[in-house]
């Protein structure tokens, strides 16, 4: 070890020493001692803050609840503790004062928020943190926790990639910060950073799993989650330093409880189907389109390849291909058993679950997942030593078709032949079509095993000093393969199993993390000072081996790579990522009215070249609880809580590949004359460094009428600079891009509002309404020499970085019947990039959710609407030219037929009118292929009935009905407004379940 580190400590060290030597400490005071025991209903309560009002004296109760403090008879002593009502007691006579603390269920400070390295009450937090808890999660019949977050948290926009089980999500916290590096937040599960980048290989998975995103969070059963906190502003994220730029998602799993051993069993079964079908042409309309197309192109006789028209296929057939290929019903089943219990020292939770989901595709495909969750908390009788252990293990298996059939469902002519012939074999109709079910002879399978484990050891060395170490381990394994047996091809081609092939990928990623931490608490003046310091050491290694085999003696041996006559290893990659940091927090809470929170981190990452590895991030947060000021209390009695808070600081982003700074050659696995080829891995740049995100936020939190109405408003302004990107380069450089820091600034700013109203709160009938809305804005502020840079056709200064630059369609020329476009450069030709000048922003304008929870006696109804205003690509986006042999939506019926027609769609062409084909290909890249796609979705509805205790003695029983994506109101004409082009849209689910505890 080199002694390089000392320098980091100069600041905190000198600050600490100065403070230690200059501050008078309480026990040196001359006042007579006051002592006693603080307890609650269960027994002695340690850690209660005890302050002599209007003095600098303060202490905390020890683990036996005992305290001692110097106080005069005239003094008033204040006892406060998170989640309990604060009590002020005049000392009076006597030197012993025992006190019982009362839990405070309604107060905001009863809500304890996980801020990652520390916990804070909702009342005293200075940062911007959103959360959802088990209460919201368990109402939703979803299998990935990210799905449960959709629409419920302001500032957090989540889109599901596909309705295929096991696929991923796009999560954006306060917009897109980075032009090209990752925009994913940091995920931390029970204190352990958890990489959610997919281990899937494009060559294996991309045809069925959108973006090959096999989301590792699938390994968490949402029912095991206690809360999900999302850290948004600088105050909350700076302590995560280089990984906090895009926000931090903290997932906390459930813990055991002190009490009798309790077994809870949940079972849920449901049905799922696609949310919306496209309005496609029927056979009559389709054939009319095709005939018109050939007539337009001057054909008098249909060519041999026009099978749909020339008599090769029956012209009176009609198949609803959407119904046939993606219109099935998927079944979901979920069973979970949880055992909890414990005593004052030890509590535990053990839970096991099984989830199964079939697909909407024809054929026997399914996803199955088993999860185990264990958590144990222990403290020594004197409460000095505390141990907490948690482990989540999941194994899942996903068996899917080799390709998503959504595209075929849209494109197949409605009079395409029958799927099966009279003998029940796949019908190839003499080789005139590709039977869409043939692809089902190939299968995609993945299985993952994942483990997240964490142990936290803490020891209270002295009264004010606590030592803690968190040890975490994660392990992810993925095995996936996709088979292409010869039976996916037309048997007339005479291909045997020598043509069968398989793609395989096995990937493994594991990481360990050690985070020692020390905490110090000290009453200071009329307040409390908390200092936290810690360090992080993390290592993550990943191995990926992607293989291909072909030529099998029999298809039964296709999973035996040893039987392949040709085997190729595409990729065998090993990466090692190391990360180290020290972090700290200084929090001072003066009179419980003025709070200052300083956080910072010194970070180093191996993803950067040796000279650019370290950087510093810091933030300051302040809060003023103005509702505690006398003038507010006296003049605004209806205001029960008011806090103004603000923060400013920085965090960073290191989401780029490993080793980008090295000049390397990689092996290709392909031999030439027995010599395996090696090729330059990339253009290399040893000089790039961190991306910096500076965040500013101001927030107002208020509650009225005894907290019955709560209203929060945030304004934020984040600026990302030193953009770490693969800068696109022209092909003449040999590669598409190079990793470098781009001197550009992206701003994300906007408002977030949330409102909670307890409309009715009687014993029998309760009604709560929650509403949240986010109004995000994104802007490219600076981009030196944009016009000369490689980005000039992607971005415009002053516009969002989520724009697309496209052709602007002027409509169909009534004379020629062909689309016309704005000729921006007036050169008489429509061509890119000069004529792609229309700017369309694809990011949401606003989004949010509205929830109503109604309960009447034992019946509870949750209704949650999600809304979103944004644009989306419609079916013409890089679509098939209308008139060619592919089905279209009924929108094409309003087409041009003869000179003088005013129509929205140009003339049909069979593909032989080059001008029309060209114009349509421009249309596919124009604003005509982008539509408004605002929607309001009944995202979740849950009806829960708790059986009266009198019915089941000693047993709790709840029955419920839940629906997800129940219906969607939208004017979007391209199917589900959230779908990713070419993939299955999110599914509608309806489920019924029962929960029993004894």
């Amino acid at each position: 070890m080199k002694n390089k580190y000392r320098g980091y400590y100069v600041l905190p060290l000198s600050f600490a020493l100065f403070w230690a030597l200059s501050t008078p400490l309480t026990s040196q005071n001359g006042s007579p001692p006051l002592s006693g025991i603080v307890s609650d209903a269960k027994g002695p309560l340690g850690g209660v803050n005890i302050i002599v009002k209007n003095s600098a004296r303060g202490t905390q109760s020890d683990l036996d609840g005992h305290y001692e403090i110097a106080a005069q008879r005239s003094d008033t002593v204040v006892f406060s503790y998170l989640g309990y009502k604060t009590q002020e007691i005049a000392v009076g006579r006597g030197s012993i004062l025992n006190i019982t603390m009362q839990p405070d269920a309604t107060a905001l400070d009863a809500v304890v928020i996980n801020a990652g390295y520390y916990k804070v009450s909702d009342k005293e937090k200075t940062g911007s943190i959103s959360r959802i808890t088990a209460k919201e999660i368990e109402n939703q019949p979803v299998q990935n926790p990210l799905a449960a977050m959709q629409g419920r948290m302001p500032g957090i926009h989540i889109t599901q990639n596909s309705g295929v089980p096991g696929s991923g999500f796009e999560v954006r916290i306060r917009g897109k910060n980075s032009i090209a590096a990752g925009n994913n937040p940091l995920y931390v599960v029970d204190g352990v950073p958890y990489t959610i980048n997919t281990l899937g290989a494009t060559t294996v998975a991309s045809s069925i799993i959108a973006l090959s995103d096999i989301n590792p969070l699938n390994s968490l059963d949402p029912n095991n989650i206690e809360s999900i906190e999302v850290l948004k502003d600088a105050d909350a994220t700076a302590i995560y330093g280089s990984r906090g730029a895009n926000g931090v998602v903290l997932i906390t799993t459930k813990s055991g409880k002190n009490g009798d051993t309790k077994l809870t069993v949940r079972a849920l079964s449901g049905l799922a189907s696609i949310t919306r079908k496209l309005d496609l042409l029927n056979t009559e309309q389709y054939l009319a389109m095709r005939r018109e197309a050939f007539a337009n192109d001057g054909y008098t006789e249909y060519p041999v390849t026009a099978y749909d028209l020339n008599g090769t296929w029956q012209t009176n057939r009609y198949t609803d291909w959407q119904e046939e290929l993606i219109g099935g019903t998927a079944y979901t089943n979920n069973v979970q058993a949880t055992l909890t219990g414990g005593n004052a020292q030890t509590s535990f939770l053990l839970s096991g679950g099984y989830y199964k989901e079939t697909t909407v595709f024809p054929g026997d495909f399914k996803y199955g997942k088993g999860t185990v969750h264990a958590k144990m908390d222990h403290s020594s009788p004197n409460e000095k030593l505390k141990v907490s252990f948690s482990a989540n293990y999941a194994a899942d298996k996903n068996e899917l078709p080799g390709a998503d059939l959504s595209l075929q469902a849209k494109n197949l002519p409605p009079n395409a032949p029958a799927l099966y012939d009279s003998e029940g074999n796949l019908n190839w109709e003499n080789g005139t079509w590709e039977n869409p079910l043939a692809i089902l002879n190939g299968e995609y399978t993945n299985s993952t095993n994942s483990l997240i484990a964490n142990t936290v050891l803490s020891y209270k060395l002295f009264e004010r000093l606590q030592l803690q170490t968190s040890l975490g381990y994660t392990d992810n394994r993925l095995e996936e393969d996709r088979t292409s047996p010869n039976t996916i091809y037309n048997p007339d081609w005479g291909l045997d199993s020598g043509f069968s092939s398989i793609y395989l990928n096995s990937a493994h990623r594991s990481s360990w993390i050690v985070e020692p931490q020390i905490n110090w608490e000290q009453p200071l003046g009329q307040g409390l000072l908390k200092i936290l310091a810690g360090a992080t050491f993390q290592q993550q290694t990943a191995d990926i081996l992607t293989k291909f085999g072909s030529g099998f003696p029999s298809n039964n041996l296709i999973h035996n790579l040893g039987a392949a006559s040709y085997i190729l290893a595409f990729a065998d990659r090993h990466t090692d990522y190391r990360y180290e940091a020290i972090y700290g927090r200084v929090n001072y809470n003066w009179k419980e009215k003025y709070i200052l929170n300083l956080t910072g981190r010194h970070d180093g990452s191996s993803r950067f070249g040796p000279d650019n590895r370290f950087a510093n991030f810091a933030a300051v947060g302040v809060a003023w609880l103005y509702s505690d000021e006398p003038f507010v209390k006296n003049n605004l009695p209806f205001l029960s809580f008011g806090k103004l808070r603000g923060s400013y600081g920085s965090s960073g982003n290191d989401q780029i590949g490993d080793y980008g700074y090295l000049d390397t050659y990689s092996t290709t696995g392909v031999p030439y004359n027995g010599n395996i080829g090696i090729s330059p891995t990339q253009l290399y740049n040893p000089n790039y460094g961190w991306e910096i995100n500076e965040k500013f936020e101001i927030g107002l939190e208020t509650a009225f009428f005894k907290n019955r109405l709560q209203l929060n408003a945030n304004y934020y302004d984040n600026r990302s600079s030193n953009q770490l990107t693969g800068i696109p380069l022209p092909g003449t450089t040999g590669f598409g891009n190079i990793q470098a820091n781009l001197n550009a600034t992206v701003q994300n700013y906007g408002w977030e509002f949330s409102l909670v109203s307890n409309n009715l709160n009687s014993e029998v009938f309760k009604w709560t309404t929650s509403f949240n809305i986010s109004l995000p804005k994104n802007k490219l502020l600076e981009f030196p020499n944009l016009e000369q840079s490689t980005y000039r056709n992607s971005y415009v200064i002053g516009e969002p970085i989520t724009i697309r630059k496209v052709y602007h369609v002027l409509g169909v020329n009534p004379e020629t019947g062909i689309f016309e476009f704005e000729d921006y450069n007036n050169d008489g030709v429509i061509s890119a990039p000069d004529d792609k000048q229309m700017v369309v922003d694809m990011a949401p304008k606003y989004y949010g959710g509205l929830e109503n929870v109604l309960s009447y006696k034992n019946l509870r109804l949750d209704i949650f609407f999600q809304f979103n205003k944004q644009k989306a690509s419609n079916n013409f986006f890089y679509g098939n030219t209308p008139g060619t042999m592919a089905n279209q939506t009924t929108e094409v019926l309003d087409r041009w037929q003869q000179p003088g027609d005013e129509a929205t769609m140009q003339m049909f062409t069979s593909g032989d009118n080059p001008e029309a084909v060209l114009a349509f290909s421009h249309y596919g890249e124009s604003d005509g292929s982008i539509s408004d796609a605002p929607f309001v979705r009944l995202k979740n509805v849950a009806l829960t009935y708790t059986l009266p205790e009198s019915v089941l003695k000693g047993m709790d029983c709840r029955v419920y009905m839940q629906g997800q994506n129940v219906f969607t109101i939208t004017k979007f004409n391209g199917g589900d407004p959230e779908r990713v082009s070419g993939f299955l849209p999110p599914l509608r689910q309806v489920a019924m379940g029962v929960e029993l505890s004894l």
């Binding site: 070890m1 390089k4 580190y5 000392r6 400590y9 060290l13 400490l25 026990s27 390849t305 080789g431 002295f462 000093l465 030592l467 037309n490 081609w493 005479g494 020598g498 020390i518 310091a533 050491f537 040709y566 090993h574 090692d576 990522y577 190391r578 180290e580 020290i582 990452s605 370290f614 490993d658 090295l662 390397t664 050659y665 092996t667 290709t668 392909v670 031999p671 004359n673 395996i676 080829g677 090696i678 090729s679 330059p680 696109p728 380069l729 022209p730 092909g731 003449t732 450089t733 040999g734 590669f735 190079i738 490689t790 000039r792 061509s831 890119a832 990039p833 032989d912 080059p914 084909v917």
Partner: protein, 471 residues
């Protein structure tokens, strides 16, 4: 003893002492920067290591041949010249999906965002980058001797010239890239033929100097001096340097002592072909060419491409190539013809066919044309008849310069069909594309003579403006 314990307790309970402890612990938390020193990745090599060893330098070259065979320019797949330019000219009809970029080549609706155009360009420059990295790496290498370096340098220079030559024929003026420096390469300008031509001559004459006469690995799968000379004769032909084209081709035809004329049409595309000058070897034992997989039609209707009826009908009666090199499949109603120079679609116990890039017949036709242009009628007729007699045809009746040039062009059509787009480049360089293709391709425009520069390329490097006319 008890007193000591008391003192200790008092000390430890003193907040100031506790705080000093806190500070000491704080310092102990520290890390050290060595922790971040990750191991060099085991799955790759550094640039300098590659060129300190002959085997790894050879592996870098092997990668280029793999790319040319599998996905770049010379490949027999739908990304290569043989299919794309066959469709673009009058050789092939397209039967595949209209969504495929190849369809636009067939019906002449190529636009600057066409993906096949982008890959022709980008993949070619990627290969050029690799060649430049090899040239620079070898020049810097201190471990390899000059004798070890020279043949490798010769191959890299030849490859750089070969790819640039094809890019010029496709796109017109192009940047000729001779460095790996991305700062230079991202702002390059297009160069006109004079500049490209002189760089081609430089690279090829260096390549000829460095390359040995014999093939490095026995088989004709890595270039020797004559491979570079073949390309040079082709460059002279395109430059209309007739004298030089004749001389250069003669050095191979008359002076090599390696190549032997083969009368049997069945053997021309076999791997042991004695007329092959440069072949690409399949990646694994038992596999054959991608050309066979693209062209051979196994069932009707064809799944990808087939020969156009017009093309098949243009053969003279009794032309053996019509019988030997063209396959046909009929379902009783319709007959489809397909290129059958390569016959092996399946794995065979031992590989039977290699993809031929250069072969002797082309050199005879180059020399015939060069001689005709110089009005050296007798020599031209001799060379042309060499080809014709092997095809079972009588000697040519052409006896004037013009008639001979037409006859050579016609002979090239039937000899070199579906080989790296030779037909298209012949139509282009003889200015006959509009005459030939105009009547049969409804989408044909005179400006189709050049492909468009890829859309992305123009936007990323404005120095490449203007776009080729018509796009």
């Amino acid at each position: 003893m008890k007193r000591l314990q008391l003192i200790r307790n008092r000390l430890l309970n003193t907040p100031k002492i506790q705080f000093v402890g806190f500070v000491i612990l704080l310092v102990l938390l520290g890390g050290c920067e060595d922790f971040l020193e990750v191991e060099f990745p085991e799955d790759r090599l550094t640039g300098t290591v590659v060129f300190n060893n002959e085997a790894t330098a050879n592996a870098a070259l092997a990668d280029i041949y793999n790319k040319l065979r599998d996905n770049t320019l010379l490949t027999g797949t739908n990304q290569g010249l043989s299919v794309l330019m066959g469709l673009y000219s009058d050789e092939l009809d397209y039967y595949g999906s209209p969504g495929n970029a190849a369809y636009n080549f067939y019906n002449h609706t190529v636009i600057p965002s066409n993906s096949a155009v982008a890959s022709l360009w980008n993949d070619s420059y990627n290969v050029i980058y690799s060649a430049n990295a090899i040239i620079e790496g070898l020049e810097k290498s201190k471990e390899l001797t000059q004798e070890q370096k020279e043949p490798l340098l010769g191959e890299a220079l030849f490859l750089r010239a070969m790819v640039h030559f094809h890019l010029y024929t496709l796109f017109g003026d192009i940047p000729y890239i001779t460095t790996t420096d991305y700062k230079v390469n991202s702002a390059v300008h297009r160069m006109d033929w004079d500049r490209v031509y002189s760089l081609l001559l430089d690279d090829l004459s260096n390549a000829k100097n460095f390359l040995p006469d014999s093939y490095p690995y026995g088989e004709r799968i890595r270039p020797n001096r004559y491979v570079a000379a073949t390309l040079l004769s082709k460059v002279y032909l395109y430059a209309e340097e007739w004298g030089k084209a004749e001389t250069e081709s003669s050095t191979i035809l008359d002076g090599s002592g390696i190549y032997v004329w083969e009368e049997n049409l069945d053997l021309v595309f076999q791997k042991e072909s004695s007329t092959a000058i440069w072949q690409l070897k399949p990646s694994t034992a038992g596999s054959n060419t991608l050309e066979a997989q693209s062209f051979v039609v196994l069932s009707l209707p064809p799944s990808n491409v087939a020969l156009s009826n017009g093309f098949v009908g243009s053969f003279e009666p009794n032309d053996l190539r019509r019988e030997k090199w063209i396959g046909e499949l009929s379902d009783g109603i319709e007959t489809v013809y397909f290129p059958n120079k390569y016959k092996e679609v399946d794995f065979t116990g031992e590989t039977l066919e290699y993809a031929v890039v250069f072969r002797l017949a082309e050199l005879y036709l180059i020399r015939a044309e060069a001689r005709a242009q110089q009005s050296s009628i007798l020599g031209a007729v001799q060379d042309l008849n060499k080809i014709r007699s092997r095809a079972g045809l009588s000697g040519t009746t052409a006896d004037s310069k013009e008639a001979l040039l037409d006859a050579v062009l016609e002979e090239r059509k039937h000899e070199l069909f579906t080989e790296q787009g030779q037909r298209w480049f012949d139509l282009k360089r003889t200015n006959s594309a509009t005459t030939v293709l105009g009547p049969i391709k409804p989408g044909w425009k005179a400006t189709d003579i050049l492909l468009p520069i890829p859309e992305n390329e123009l936007s990323l490097n404005p120095n490449l403006q203007p776009q080729n006319p018509g796009y």
